[in-house]
Symmetry: C2
Subunit: 227 residues, 2 copies
């Protein structure tokens, strides 16, 4: 039984929420590289040094934002995948949820999958939430059974085994695992191209394009269309 929070603890928790909100607003406006503790303090109506009560270093705040973003994205994907639907449908729905999240919060998507921040090294505690996203997306497609007539290269087999074991994703075989990595790369790539503006003038809005492509991938993975 946790003791009830003291007013001080509660104020602290609320301030952390506010700090993150302001940080996200900055992220959206000026990018992650320009995240400024001083600017956050200013908007909090707090002297600049007081921020250090909450995050000892700028990078600690970035880490908090990264972890939150992975978790929010994973949750969005998980709740998009309705178990009553066929794997084919679940895959398409989940991909669309990923795109929707990314289009809605492009700066947070870029924080996760965009250019690494110079000087920032993602600490180990980001690995688990990052995995949650991969699992949430690929779990809908574990039943994949692609036609694949080529042999898996010798060097690739252990990489595939290690990765899917670590994620606890029971894929059918290595060919299926490989196809899943390809599908993941495609989804992330298409979303990146869209939110980075590479489709401007050609495929905007890109929802039809995106849906058509993830459906074809679902076909290529030969995902069951019935539950």
């Amino acid at each position: 039984m946790a003791p009830p929070p003291t007013p001080r603890q509660q104020a602290r928790a609320e301030n952390i929420v506010r700090i993150k909100q302001l940080a996200l607003a900055q992220l959206a406006e000026s990018g992650a590289g320009a995240l400024s503790l001083r600017a956050i303090a200013r908007e909090l109506d707090i002297v600049s040094s007081a921020i250090y009560r909450y995050y000892a270093r700028r990078d600690d705040l970035v880490t908090a934002l990264v972890i939150d973003a992975y978790n929010d994205l994973a949750t969005a994907l998980e709740s998009a995948s309705r178990p009553s639907r066929s794997p084919w449908r679940q895959w398409v729905d989940t991909c669309q949820a990923l795109r929707a999240w990314a289009v809605h919060e492009p700066h947070r998507f870029s924080l996760l999958y965009g250019t690494p921040l110079p000087g920032y090294e993602a600490p180990p505690e980001t690995i688990e939430p990052a995995g949650r996203v991969a699992v949430a997306l690929l779990a809908t497609a574990v039943s994949a059974d692609p036609l694949d007539t080529r042999a898996i290269p010798r060097a690739l087999a252990p990489q595939l085994d290690t990765s899917f074991t670590a994620l606890e994703l029971p894929v059918r075989d290595r060919a299926a695992g490989l196809a899943l990595v390809g599908a993941l790369g495609q989804v992330i790539g298409l979303v990146s191209l869209e939110i980075n503006g590479q489709f401007v003038g050609g495929f905007e809005p890109a929802d039809t394009l995106f849906t058509a492509l993830v459906e074809r991938t679902a076909d290529a993975l030969r995902l069951p269309t019935t539950r």
Copy 2:
């Protein structure tokens, strides 16, 4: 017949080269957001205001770097595609050239396909070199003839037609065009995941993974294996 360059013109051209070199070094070290005209001037042993003789605004320098990067990448792709080889082979070779370029110069790849710089708007003159890259990559796969049993959505047809007409890429049909966009998204996505460190611990080095996937895409596009 162009007149021979004066010493002054020559010095100017050389300085522009040096400025770009120093800018690229900064890009690699601190990211595009931290590109600093003052720092460049310092390394050039020039007073900070003198830089404005060369680039009137910071963004003009960024634009020059973007255009150079697109052109260098396009050239790398073009020279990787040997016409004596089969389309299947050309596609795989070109994709590998793209990955090699990106792995060798990740900061330049990120400048093109990574998170947009806050406040920087790519001017129209970047469109043509950006197209050169798309053409260099996709031209190797114009003979694609994927199995595709689904109808192209109504909203998608004009987008596909416009895009491939603009690039002057004579794809077989819309299904092939759609598959090519999917392939492009996958290649960019995989390379982005790799250079942004998302494969760390799982698929590093990623060359075997990458090759296996572009080969399978070449299969799926049913590219001819003979010239």
